[in-house]
Amino acid sequence: MTDREGPIEEATPVAATSSIGAREILVAFVALLVLTGTSYGLSFVHLGAYAAPVALGIAAVKVLVVALYFMGLLDEPPSHRLAAVAAAFFVILLVVFTRADVVTRQ
């Protein structure tokens, strides 16, 4: 997505810092594995009507972890977070209203 104007060379060192270091990345990874395991385990428990909300809830938390730590959203300005929130909001909107039509038909 970048636009190049100058010659292709290594950038001069920029003082690039981030509050997300190797340790934070590792913790996020472990958390994701734990959540994956939990979700896998719960899929063998009979949860009835709660199965889908629980599985999707765990998935949502995992996506949040990926966005905040792996994708570095924790460090980004609000406008970048807004893009992510907007995407989530409109996907949910589309899903909810479309499903509501089928669910509420007589």
Binding site: M1, T2, R4, E5, G6, P7, I8, E9, E10, A11, P13, V14, A16, T17, S18, I20, G21, A22, I25, A28, F29, L32, L33, T36, S39, Y40, S43, H46, L47, G48, A49, Y50, A52, A55, L56, I58, A59, K62, V63, V66, A67, F70, M71, G72, P77, H80, A83, A84, A86, A87, F90, V91, L94, V95, V96, T98, R99, D101, V102, V103
Partner: protein, 211 residues
């Protein structure tokens, strides 16, 4: 796509340009999410209409293979996040090696995915309700498997594109020609691929009960 020594003429600073690139990618990823959004909406609506057929369809998939793939993608995403961290610390070579590892993860993921597709074909399950499996199946089974092939297939295309970007980034890093900001943008794309699979996994492997 490589980072310039100096920032482009129309930007104030390199920092600003990097931020703009990342933001551009975020906005584009929002667009990508909506691309999948239409399919998620169809899944949600059709699952409400044919709960039994969808539950049976999920049971047809191999949960162990699906979960293995989930772990592989999460691990590859982790590795890419580390690569960005290494590049930030000016350790380009290590970053490149980590990207290679991630590419390997992507390839394994696709290998398992195609093995699953092959197994489905053997059972007579093809997209569009074609194949020997369907005459005996419930109404709605065709829809489930069409969505399955469509959504995982679209995701697989994204995995391929992500892998291509990763290979390019790794090659550029080995030749010390890739700036941090370009790597960040590539990494964002790969994480999206991971995030989408995280949602697909329960939909096609875990929700075996007709609620």
């Amino acid at each position: 796509m490589s980072e310039p020594r100096a920032h482009a003429a129309h930007f104030e600073s390199l920092e600003r340009q990097g931020e703009a690139s990342r933001f551009g990618m975020w906005v584009f990823l929002a667009s990508e999410a909506l691309l999948f959004g239409g399919l998620f909406a169809l899944y949600a609506a059709y699952r409400a209409r044919w709960p039994g057929a969808f539950a049976d369809g999920v049971a047809e998939n191999d949960v162990v293979l699906g979960t293995t793939n989930t772990v592989i993608l999460i691990a590859s995403s982790f590795v890419v996040a580390l690569a960005v961290h290494e590049r930030r610390g000016q350790r380009a070579r290590r970053a490149a090696l980590l990207l290679c590892l991630a590419v390997l993860g992507g390839a394994t993921f696709l290998g398992i995915k195609f093995h699953e597709y092959g197994h489905h074909f053997e059972l007579g399950i093809f997209p569009g309700g074609h194949g020997a499996h369907f005459p005996g199946a419930q109404m709605g089974a065709a829809i489930f498997f069409t969505l399955y092939f469509g959504m995982t297939g679209l995701h697989a295309i994204h995995v391929l594109m992500g892998m291509a970007l990763l290979v390019w980034a790794a090659a550029s890093l080995f030749r010390a020609r890739l700036g941090l900001h370009s790597l960040e943008v590539v990494a964002l794309y790969w994480h999206l691929v991971d995030a989408i699979w995280i949602v697909l996994w329960p939909l096609f492997y875990l929700l075996r009960g007709a609620a």
